[in-house]
């Protein structure tokens, strides 16, 4: 009835309803089998990379610092889409062929690794110097203090900004459609190209991204609350 008011032609309205219904399943499948796993795998790999990069960045070994700086600068200074194209379309020229899904995982992980490393580095540096001294004073080594005392506290500090990264990542995975990953937005493009109802199908995809991000922000709040248990 809502559609009827916008589209006076009842047949058109019925057709739109039909398209909306039939495209929902393929879109959901794209989200469940590609977009969401891609996000999760990438985030875990990226986070791992980010911690290593942050540790390299604050280490006293000059070479590690330099490598980390170059990596961060290169990733942040080039568009994500261009990075994906280099990995998927570019590397075959030197004989390295990677399938679309793996290309996307590599590209996004490198991206998350660089951005999140700065978040983690800032979080580590935000922990008061007294915590290091207290750790050292009971005889701990640098790596013991880092692992047992500093990183757990830094984790708590970095949850809100890391959640931002995570939510951005959900949306960025739509770029994988351009390196032929059949994730949600690629499916939307395919559907729309057959029925020309771009507004309807893309809006439907947008709505699904929104729903996913909404649930993620709820999880974020729960996580923050959990990590808050020792604070005043």
């Amino acid at each position: 009835m809502f559609l009827n008011s916008i589209f006076p032609d009842p047949e058109h309205a019925a057709r739109l309803m039909d398209i909306a219904k039939t495209s929902l399943m393929p879109l959901l499948k794209g989200a469940i089998f590609y977009s969401i796993p891609l996000t999760i795998i990438t985030f875990i790999c990226g986070l791992f990379l980010a911690i290593l990069t942050a540790l390299a960045r604050i280490s006293h070994v000059k070479a590690l610092q330099v490598i980390a700086r170059i990596y961060i600068s290169a990733v942040r200074g080039t568009p994500l889409l261009v990075q994906l194209f280099i990995i998927f379309y570019g590397l075959p020229n030197i004989g390295v062929t990677i399938d679309p899904y793996t290309s996307a995982i590599i590209g996004f992980s490198l991206n998350v690794g660089a951005y999140a490393s700065e978040i983690i580095r800032a979080a580590i540096l935000s922990i008061p110097k007294g915590q290091w001294e207290a750790g050292y004073s009971v005889g701990m080594s640098y790596s013991q203090v880092m692992r047992r005392i500093i990183l757990p506290q830094a984790a708590k500090v970095s949850i809100p900004p890391l959640s931002n990264t995570f939510i951005s990542l959900v949306k960025d995975t739509s770029l994988a459609s351009l390196v032929l990953v059949t994730e949600m937005f690629r499916r939307a493009q395919e559907i729309a190209s057959t029925n020309y109802e771009f507004l309807l199908v893309y809006s439907e995809a947008a709505l699904l991204y929104w729903v996913i991000c909404f649930f993620l922000s709820i999880i974020q709040q729960a996580l923050e609350k959990r990590l808050d248990r020792y604070a005043s």
Partner: protein
């Protein structure tokens, strides 16, 4: 026994310690007093190498570090285990309960069995009067309680000497007493202690020796009675007068 020989500490051009010589016998309590900027905290932090001395030699119970050349990290970590440090700002681990704070060193550094470490930690918290706070996080403890956990945490490593860096300076006046009481008990048990403090009453009641520092040197040392009632040096007199 602790012995400090010709200890110097420079921060860039500023010389904070200008050749400190000090010997402390086992079981003695030494209180270090002096105006701010006198180098007393720096001296204490040099003893557990939180500050690396620029020059000099420190030895505790036969283990010694010579700072005329670079000291390897391993020997610093081993040396630190001889000392227990209590900080002005407590520096408890906020993500760990009182019990976990005390157990952390023994488990991670000494690789002690978890159950044994917990038993000892409970005994130590009981000793500092906090047996009802074992599972409480630092944020929910008062300053005095936090500092007592700090003392228990340092004791858990079974150090040869306890170092106190202005342990009551950050406390509300009504909480000072409970911390000083724990420290006095420790002194009575024969723990070797070096205490930097402004609590002259503690110095009078618990110290075997009082050391007055000013501008990076030890100006005067002696029994608390003689320092407080009959100081020999002009600078000591002036400092003690200012406190009255």
């Amino acid at each position: 026994m602790i012995s400090i020989k010709n200890l110097h500490k420079r921060f860039d051009k500023l010389e904070v310690l200008k050749g400190i010589n000090l010997e402390v016998e086992k079981g003695k309590v030494v209180v270090v007093i002096g105006p701010s900027g006198s180098g007393k905290t720096t001296m204490l932090r040099c003893l557990n190498v939180l500050e690396t001395p620029s020059e000099g030699n420190i030895s505790i119970e036969g283990q010694s570090l010579d700072f005329s050349h670079t000291v390897p990290k391993k020997s610093i970590a081993a040396f630190r285990r001889l000392t227990g440090m209590v900080f002005q700002g407590y520096n408890l681990f906020p993500h760990k309960t009182a019990l976990e704070n005390v157990m952390e060193g023994p488990i991670i550094v000494k690789k002690e069995d978890k159950r044994l470490a917990e038993e000892k930690a409970r005994a130590l918290l009981n000793k500092v009067g906090l047996s009802d706070k074992v599972d409480t996080y630092p944020a929910h403890l008062s300053g005095g309680q936090q500092q007592r956990v700090g003392i228990a945490r340092a004791l858990a490593m079974e150090p040869e000497v306890m170092l106190f860096d202005e342990p009551t300076s950050a406390l509300d006046p009504e909480l000072v007493g409970e911390v000083l009481k724990v420290m006095k008990d420790l002194a009575n048990e024969g723990m070797t202690m070096i205490v930097v403090t402004h609590e002259m009453r503690f110095a009078k009641e618990a110290a075997d020796e009082v050391i007055f520092m000013d501008q990076g040197v030890i100006v005067e040392r002696g029994k608390p009675d003689s320092i407080f009632t009959n100081p020999k040096e002009e600078r000591t007199k002036r400092f003690l007068n200012m406190l009255q």
